[in-house]
C-alpha cells in the first residue's frame, strides 16, 4: 500500500493559509468600499484585519512541525530556488504574514493598543517606540497586501499543481480552485465571526455584503471544479484514472456528498435563498442569523474538505505503481 507522505498537518496548513488569504482579501475590500464618502463596512474591515494573521501563523507553525527536521526550517530562508514552488511559497507566506500582522496592528483600537503596550516592560524603549497610530495607512497596507494574499491563495494550489508526477493535481485549474476556495472561506469566516460576536450584533447590510461576496466566490469555485472534472474526464488515460479516485474510487462519497453537496452547493443554495428575493423582487433583505451561521460553517467545512481530498487523493494518483516488495 502506498503510504501518504503528506498528512493532516499539511491539509490543515493549506486550509489555514487559504483562510488567512481570504480574510485579508475580504477585509481589505471592505476597507475600500464607501457609501456617500463614508466607509460602508468598517466593522467587517476591522474584524477581518484582526483575524487575518492568526490562521496563517498557526498554519506555518504546523508546517514547520511537519518537517522531518523542524529546527532546520531556517534553511528555507538561506536558499532561494525559483524552480521550487515551496521555496517561493515560504517567502510569500512569510511576507504575507508580516503584512497581515502590520495590517491588524493598523486596525487595533486605541485602547487595545495601549493595553498591549502597557504589558511591555517600561525599560524596553525600542519596543515602545512602535506604539504609534498607523491607522491612516490602512489603505496603503491593504493595497500592498492584496497581491500577497492572492499569491498565498494561489500558491497553496500551485504547490500541488506543479508536481508532474501526480496526474490528479497536475492541471492548471487546481491553483484557481484553491484560490477561490480560499477567498470564499475568508468571506465565510468573517460572516461566522460577525454572527457569533453577540456584543456587537451583525447588521443586515453587513450580512448582505458578506453573503454576496461569498456567492461570487463559491460560484467561481464551482465553475472551476466543473471544467476540472470535464477536462480530466476527456484527458489522457493517467488523468482519467486519477479522476476515478473521486468518480467511483475511495474519495467519491467525501467529494460528492460532503464537499460538493454539504460544503459547496448547500451553502450556496442557502445564500442564494437569502439574497435572491431582495435582488429579484426588490424585497428587503432580512439576513436570518441561523441560516448565516449554518451557511458559513458549511463553507468552512467544504474548504477544509477540498484540501483534504486533494492532498490525499493526489498522493494516490501516480503514473507508476510499486512492485511486490512494497
Amino acid at each position: 500500500m502506498h503510504e501518504f507522505n503528506w498528512g493532516l498537518l499539511i491539509v490543515v496548513y493549506l486550509f489555514l493559509g487559504g483562510l488567512s488569504a481570504g480574510l485579508f482579501f475580504a477585509a481589505g475590500l471592505a476597507n475600500y468600499l464607501e457609501v456617500a464618502g463614508q466607509p460602508a463596512y468598517p466593522r467587517i474591515a476591522r474584524m477581518g484585519a484582526l483575524l487575518a494573521p492568526w490562521p496563517v501563523a498557526i498554519g506555518s507553525g504546523l508546517l514547520i512541525l511537519d518537517l522531518g527536521n523542524w529546527y532546520r526550517f531556517y534553511k528555507l530562508f538561506t536558499h532561494f530556488r525559483w524552480e521550487s514552488p515551496m521555496s517561493i511559497g515560504s517567502y510569500l507566506l512569510t511576507i504575507f504574514t508580516g503584512i497581515a500582522f502590520v495590517y491588524a496592528f493598523a486596525w487595533l483600537p486605541e485602547d487595545w493598543r495601549q493595553k498591549l503596550f502597557s504589558k511591555v516592560p517600561a525599560t524596553w524603549k525600542q519596543v515602545h517606540r512602535l506604539n504609534v497610530d498607523i491607522s491612516a495607512h490602512r489603505k496603503t497596507i491593504a493595497m500592498i497586501g492584496f497581491p500577497f494574499s492572492i499569491g498565498v491563495g494561489i500558491y497553496t494550489g500551485v504547490l500541488l499543481g506543479a508536481v508532474s508526477a501526480r496526474p490528479f493535481w497536475n492541471t492548471n485549474l487546481v491553483a484557481q480552485m484553491f484560490l477561490f476556495s480560499a477567498l470564499s472561506s475568508g468571506a465565510a469566516a468573517l460572516l461566522l465571526a460577525m454572527v457569533l460576536d453577540k456584543r456587537n450584533p451583525i447588521e443586515t447590510h453587513e450580512t448582505k455584503f458578506l453573503i454576496t461576496l461569498d456567492i461570487v466566490f463559491i460560484s467561481l469555485e464551482f465553475f472551476i471544479i466543473l471544467p476540472y472534472l470535464i477536462h480530466g474526464s476527456l484527458s489522457v488515460l493517467a488523468v482519467k484514472q486519477a479522476l476515478w479516485l473521486i468518480l467511483g474510487g475511495p474519495y467519491t462519497v467525501v467529494f460528492w456528498v460532503f464537499f460538493m453537496g454539504l460544503g459547496l452547493l448547500v451553502p450556496l443554495g442557502i445564500e442564494v435563498y437569502e439574497l435572491a428575493p431582495s435582488l429579484l423582487k426588490g424585497r428587503a433583505f432580512h439576513g436570518n442569523r441561523r441560516l448565516a451561521l449554518v451557511a458559513s460553517s458549511l463553507v468552512l467545512f467544504g474548504g477544509f474538505l477540498l484540501r483534504y481530498i486533494f492532498v490525499y487523493a493526489g498522493q494516490l494518483s501516480s503514473f507508476h505503481k510499486m512492485g511486490g516488495l512494497r
Binding site: L67, G68, N69, S84, S87, M322, G323
Partner: protein, 183 residues
C-alpha cells in the same frame, strides 16, 4: 586539461531477472537501509491464472533522471545532481519536507525516520568514485544490470544501447529517466 564528460546510467535486462532479490539485500547491506525501506526493488507483473501463468520481474530504483523533478522542487537545494548524472541528497541541507518524495514519478525515495531526512539510491557513488560498480550490479547472479558511462563509446552499456531495443519507464513525465530496460 578538461575533465572527461561522464554520464552514468544503468541498463537492465529484466528478462534475465529471477527475482532472487540479491540486489535488494546487497543494497541494504551496502547502504545501511533501515528495515521496511528500500532503495531498489523488483516489480512483479503477474498475468493470467495458474496453470496459464506468466510473471515478469523488473528491477527498479532511482532513475537518476536527466531532469530530476525531485531536485527541481527541493526548496533548499538538498537534492542535487552531479555532473555525471547521479542524483544525490545532501543530508545536512535536507529539512525533511518530503516534497521530493511526492514529486518523484517512480516513488523511489523514502523517509529516513532516524535522521528525519529523505534517502534514496546513490548509485553507490562511494563505490563508483573508486572505479567500482554499484553493489546491486556487483551482486546480481544473472547479470541483469549493466552499469556504465554513456559518454564512453567503448563501454558495454554504450554498445547495448546502440545494438538493442530498449524502453524507459514513464517518459511522459518529462524527467528523462536513465534506467534503460532492454526489450
Amino acid at each position: 586539461m578538461a575533465m572527461k564528460k561522464r554520464r552514468y546510467a544503468l541498463v537492465i535486462d529484466s528478462r534475465k531477472c529471477i527475482n532472487c532479490k540479491a540486489c535488494v539485500v546487497a543494497c541494504k547491506a551496502e547502504n545501511e537501509v533501515p528495515i521496511g525501506n528500500f532503495r531498489n526493488w523488483i516489480n512483479e507483473d503477474r498475468q493470467g491464472e495458474y496453470p496459464k501463468l506468466r510473471i515478469d520481474f523488473e528491477p527498479e530504483q532511482c532513475h537518476h533522471c536527466e531532469h530530476p523533478s525531485c531536485a527541481r522542487v527541493c526548496p533548499t537545494g538538498a537534492t542535487w545532481q552531479r555532473k555525471d548524472g547521479i542524483v544525490l541528497v545532501n543530508y545536512d541541507e535536507c529539512i525533511g519536507c518530503r516534497y521530493c518524495m511526492i514529486a518523484c514519478p517512480y516513488d523511489a525515495r523514502y523517509f529516513h525516520e532516524e535522521s528525519g531526512t529523505v534517502h534514496k539510491c546513490t548509485l553507490c557513488n562511494h563505490r563508483v568514485d573508486k572505479g567500482d560498480v554499484p553493489a546491486c550490479v556487483a551482486t546480481c547472479p544473472s547479470k541483469v544490470r549493466v552499469f556504465g558511462d554513456l559518454e564512453d563509446p567503448a563501454s558495454r552499456i554504450h554498445e547495448l544501447l546502440a545494438t538493442r531495443r530498449y524502453r524507459v519507464k514513464e517518459p511522459q513525465t518529462g524527467n528523462g529517466p536513465q534506467l534503460y530496460y532492454l526489450l
